[in-house]
Symmetry: C2
């Protein structure tokens, strides 16, 4: 009984897949504060030329530089597993497969994009990168990339996370990054907040402002983002490109491809290469799974909105709950985002990708069942994909249909055990659908003329 | 440039290698309190028949049950990596390879033996297993095994670790184990200690006493040990058996095989299959690496001593610092053991295995260099093997010899980031060789007539 499908290193993809080439309609452009499409020059203050090119490219295949591939080979190709034991526990005729992105040194799929981002910045002569991090997955991944490619990395970590999650901070420092609790007194944005709210726990919005401000103000320094943008989706497609080959090795093809969706890179990474098949006429359902407490794709609107909380970024056409919507404090920190990647949003809007929202307790129940059958303790973000997979597998048990399900195990939960503790102690709860807060935030959407 | 050597699942070993078959002399038997060899019956109170058979077997090859192999396939065969980036950082002509045992769900090599131990117990009709754990690596591995094989697991976790390392405890609970801070009031041993020392932080010795007492007193319950015993060494040989095939894939063969040594299972697992080659006349050096603060193999004596701190176990012929030697509080908790496996000790005594002791700071320096070049953050225990490998690679840089080095990356450090924190803060120190404490403990060795 084969459990894992492993690819040779020589099967590591040589090109990323750009979904834009297969979209029925061109993506709406990002807009500046004046309501006009932003110029590429405006982005050059914080991004290197090649990433800007990738952001607007319509080429189907974009070559992965050999030096990037050499680093990705430290852990890639990542295994694809058949979840025999989970199937047995569910008494389902469904066949369940998962792509295991938890094997990266940082423990998630995030280094798939931090490595090329650091690479292109170094090629452009940049010496330093800034970024923000909440729970720390992205900060760790950029720290790793900076270390491996010889760039200094400064991470603005949301203060409450800095204090509550010291081990992600230690990991960033082990990889040589500087980590500061945000807000700091090193930026105007930080000082301004500290003046009026000296005891603020910080927020992702503030941390982004600090990181962008520093990058924009220093010629040797750029900014790096871990999700949402087109080039990030692009870099993550190694996941699905490998998975497609591995499903072939298994002699199978998914009926449903399932991944969690916060900013969207985890979903895009697995699902976009299967969208290429769908665009070519193949039957395959693509399912994005979000938290019921932050239901961007299922309860948001498809509209132009800011990517950050304070309105510093260009306006992006995307599903959004409103840029000042503050999601409840669920443990899947990586899914607490008011928007979703423009490319994922567009596919949902056009009916090519489905979305479902799942409450927190069901996701932890799913994660624990997975840990107890397949062994690996998943990240709270990944538990959303697992929960949706289990729903589909149970449907198969009722209908008798032997569907093939494929989901993305985007990361492990080794740094999230406090969340599991709270789940076992009965201290976790579901958050009622925050309809009023969403309505208020949606009433603050920027007006585009 | 190939980085990883992966084996197909079909290459998972079908048999364990029993080093006893190739020893120049038969192993000295364990002795009872009366100084006579213990009877197998005496062991049957806490171990199932097949493990007792394996403990005394002289067969070279012992078949791995198919159900055990099926579970091992969740993560095995484990990858073997060529550490190109570490080599470059050291400017060494040496070729460095490492076997990556950090990929198991529990994060170390320990499940290689917890799975077969749980299996044989279940086959013998046992429903529950007890064990002790310090830092939690072994407790996690047995919890995982119990969950996957349908046995209840109770872990007595040293109280100070229970309080300081809550996340290893959470992981055990995620896998369904009961975890208690030891000493408890559930055993005579625990109650006796609590009566005289109500505020004790606990110790591995006390926790072993509790686990053994419970197992001995219940017909449905056995005890499981994570190192030291012959059957544990046997189960770990899957590491070296795979590594031998992978070195062949790499077209290479190690001049030196290097692994950390506490109880000995990590070292035995990688090195014993290469000892088989050495016994057949092949040139290969085998190097066990221990902490300078707990120098069992390099400063201990080869003598009969108790396996636990309080004298409950049979007497084992091994290198020992004395059963009442309490090692200083280094962070490599898995290497803080007064003895060493009898089989490893015998090979050291006969000059077939070399040993070296390395101070704590050098091991963390090595671990950080490894993390910054190869990506993976290693466990403090594994840092000992890395430090010895780096010493050998630097020797090659001086001599110009392009030696081939192979070490065991026995686990990751995701639950040890507090130790890295202390290292970066300058709060870690080396412990002077505790010569006086060792001398005192050695003066308490049991007298054998």
């Amino acid at each position: 009984m084969t459990t894992k499908f492993l690819l040779e290193e020589s099967s590591l993809p040589t090109h990323w897949y750009n979904v834009v080439a297969d979209l029925p309609n061109p993506p709406p452009p990002p807009l500046g504060p004046d309501g006009k499409p932003v110029t590429l020059d405006a982005l050059a203050a914080i991004f290197p030329p090649t990433l800007i090119e990738q952001e607007v490219s319509v080429e189907r295949w974009i070559e992965i530089p050999e030096e990037v591939r050499e680093i990705l080979r430290l852990w890639r190709p990542a295994p694809l597993h058949r979840a025999h034991r989970l199937e047995q526990a569910l008494k389902t005729p469904a066949k369940i497969y998962y792509k295991n992105e938890s094997v990266s040194p940082a423990g998630s799929h995030k280094p798939n994009t931090s490595i090329p981002q650091a690479y292109y910045n170094r090629v452009a002569g940049i010496r330093r990168l800034t970024t923000e991090t909440g729970a720390g997955q992205w900060g760790c991944s950029l720290a790793l990339a900076g270390q491996l490619l010889g760039l200094e990395v400064r991470v603005y970590m949301v203060k409450v996370s800095y204090q509550q999650k010291p081990y992600r901070r230690s990991m960033m420092q082990t990889w040589g990054a500087e980590v500061f609790a945000s807000p700091t007194d090193m930026t105007n944005a930080g000082r301004q907040i500290l003046k009026t709210q000296p005891d603020t726990p910080g927020s992702l919005g503030i941390a982004i402002s600090e990181a962008v401000e520093e990058a924009a103000g220093r010629a040797d320094t750029n900014y790096a983002l871990g999700s949402v943008l087109n080039h990030v989706m692009l870099h993550q497609t190694v996941i699905g490109l490998e998975a497609r080959k591995q499903m072939e090795m298994a002699g199978d093809y998914p009926d449903i491809v399932i991944a969690s969706c916060g900013g969207g890179s985890n979903f895009a990474g697995l699902a976009f290469p299967f969208f290429a098949d769908k665009a070519a006429g193949r039957q395959v359902r693509l399912l994005a799974v979000e938290p019921a407490s932050c239901p961007t794709l299922t309860k948001g609107v498809y509209a132009y909105d800011y990517g950050d909380a304070t309105g510093l970024t260009p306006l992006l056409k995307m599903h959004t709950l409103g840029h000042d919507f503050v999601p409840p404090g669920i443990h899947a920190g990586g899914l607490r985002y008011h928007g979703a990647a423009p490319l994922v949003s567009q596919l949902v809007q056009e009916g090519l990708v489905e979305a479902v929202a799942i409450p927190q307790l069901e996701t932890f129940e799913a994660g624990v069942l997975f840990a107890r059958t397949e062994g690996i303790v998943p990240a709270p973000e990944s538990n959303h994909a697992i929960a949706a997979t289990i729903r589909a597998a149970r449907d198969c048990a009722h209908s008798g249909e032997p569907k093939t399900l494929l989901f993305n195990l985007s990361g492990h939960g080794h740094f999230d055990m406090a969340a599991y503790d709270r789940y076992f102690a009965g201290d976790l709860r579901d958050y009622e659908h925050p309809a009023e807060a969403i309505q208020t935030a949606l009433s603050h959407l920027p007006k585009i003329t």
